[in-house]
């Protein structure tokens, strides 16, 4: 795993993503955090989550046409953001 802190925000995002993307989840999320938020995975904070979800949704929307799956996946991530009190931007 790119970030080793147990139950960090990053770990939780990867855990949710694993159910949809499988073993590539870690690499995929790490790359999204680095490229879009310009920080390392271990620095991913609550406040970053909604912005990260926007990008994840845009990418996943080009990998599957199944809108229900995308909605389900991004809703799972939004629940994480709500739980951790994430704010957009």
């Amino acid at each position: 795993m790119a970030a080793s802190q147990p139950d960090s925000v990053y770990d939780q995002v990867v855990q949710v993503t694993h159910a949809y993307l499988g073993p590539t989840a870690d690499r995929f999320i790490a790359r999204q955090v680095e490229d879009h938020l310009h920080k390392s995975p271990s620095e991913l904070s609550q406040a970053d989550l909604l912005s990260l979800i926007d990008w994840i949704k845009a990418v996943v929307s080009l990998l599957t046409e199944d809108g229900d799956i995308i909605e389900e996946y991004t809703n799972e991530l939004r629940k994480l953001a709500a739980r951790t009190g994430g704010k957009h931007g």
Binding site: W55, S61, L62, E65
Partner: protein, 383 residues
């Protein structure tokens, strides 16, 4: 009129701006497609419809990857994750690539693609992809390569006759020659050798560019291979009183599985370049260093060097440094372009350090083993 007195541009209304964007989108000569954040096509310009063979109604509202089919040179559908539009969202940056699009009628056309994410306050709202059909460019490239290849082969035939007869003359088969005649013949021999080298270079370049260069991997010891070249290289060096050295540094074997003929061509080009661009009485050293997964060769000269401002063009076709053009009138500017192309075919790497007036160090590495090369493709759209 003073700048402050200039009338300011009239402020556009939202409708006017919309009409402006619409006109811009429609009038672009290249194909343009925009998508929303779900990857659904929101707008298609007439050029895109022409290239893809679909009408606007057939495209708008559909999922971009489903309708716009991308394939590789080997007709394999491109993975969705590897498509430029996905990469643009993955990285958040514009992406430029060449690939093939499958038209509605099934025909595959090479396209050059530029795609950018559309962002509002950092949030992705969709993407805009601009692409153009590069079939004609590729055809012109192919025809140009074919012409050079054909012309080079045709030039070789009369050249062989010239070489044969000049050798017969210099060897005395047609009687004794006086000093002036010998001098003239030596000029002819030099000129035909140069022309022969130029033809070989052109042929090699067309083979590289068309992907038809044949590779025959065999196990060779790099130091022995370079030693075989030394007599020929020493002749060149001696003509300019240049001290040419070959040295092996470090421990380990220099054995690699590669194409010996191509490596000889690379070394000959680099060393003859070094000799050519080094003043008389200078030094040229070839150093071979075995590493774990590769073998490195360094060619160092005490020559005129490459000016800093030209260094990024060194491996470009027809490049000749300004400081060299003034001193050395011969040369095509194809040698290093060829060397780079040959090394690419062998999965090698090349780089250099140079300072004007202080000489140049060229380095190249070759892997211990050469991966199985794919057979040359019938299509070519690599970036």
């Amino acid at each position: 009129m003073a700048e402050t007195d200039m009338p300011s541009a009239p402020r556009r209304t939202a409708h006017e701006r919309q009409a402006e964007v619409e006109a811009l989108f429609t009038s672009i000569g290249d194909g343009a497609i925009s998508t929303d954040e779900f990857g659904r096509i929101t707008r298609v310009n007439p050029a895109a419809q022409g290239i893809l063979g679909y009408s606007e109604d057939e495209l708008v509202g559909t999922w971009f990857p489903k309708k716009i089919i991308a394939v590789s040179a080997d007709d394999v559908p491109t993975n969705l994750i590897d498509r430029p539009i996905t990469k643009a969202f993955l990285t958040g940056r514009p992406i430029a690539e060449k690939m093939f699009y499958r038209r509605q009628d099934g025909q595959e056309i090479p396209v050059s693609i530029n795609v950018s994410p559309i962002l509002l306050n950092g949030k992705p709202l969709g993407a805009i992809e601009v692409f153009r059909d590069i079939s004609l460019e590729q055809e012109v490239d192919r025809m140009k390569s074919e012409f050079i290849s054909l012309a080079s082969h045709q030039l070789r035939t009369p050249l062989s006759a010239i070489k044969t007869y000049t050798h017969m003359l210099t060897d005395g088969y047609m009687g004794d020659l006086n000093e002036a005649q010998n001098k003239s013949l030596s000029t002819i021999v030099g000129a035909t050798n140069r022309m022969n080298e130029l033809i070989s270079t052109l042929l090699n370049i067309t083979r590289i560019e068309s992907g038809t260069i044949a590779i025959s991997p065999k196990l060779v010891k790099l130091n022995e291979l370079v030693e075989e070249l030394m007599p020929e290289l020493e002749l060149m060096a001696t003509a300019k009183s240049i001290d040419l050295k070959l040295q092996l540094r470090g421990k380990g074997s220099t054995a690699i599985k590669t194409d010996a003929l191509i490596v000889k061509e690379i070394v000959t080009n680099l060393v003859s370049n070094a000799i050519k661009y080094t003043p008389d009485n200078g030094q040229v050293t070839i150093t071979i260093r075995p590493h774990r997964n590769e073998v490195q060769v360094e060619v160092t000269d005490s020559g005129w060097g490459i000016p800093k401002f030209s260094q990024d063009q060194v491996f470009s076709k027809f490049f000749r440094a300004q400081n060299i053009v003034k001193r050395e009138t011969t040369g095509t500017g194809l040698g290093l372009y060829l060397v780079k192309g040959l090394l690419d075919t062998l999965d090698g790497k090349i780089w250099f350090h140079s300072e004007e007036g202080a000489g140049t160090n060229f380095f190249f590495t070759l892997p211990r083993t050469l991966p199985n090369k794919k057979s040359s493709s019938r299509k070519k759209a690599k970036a």
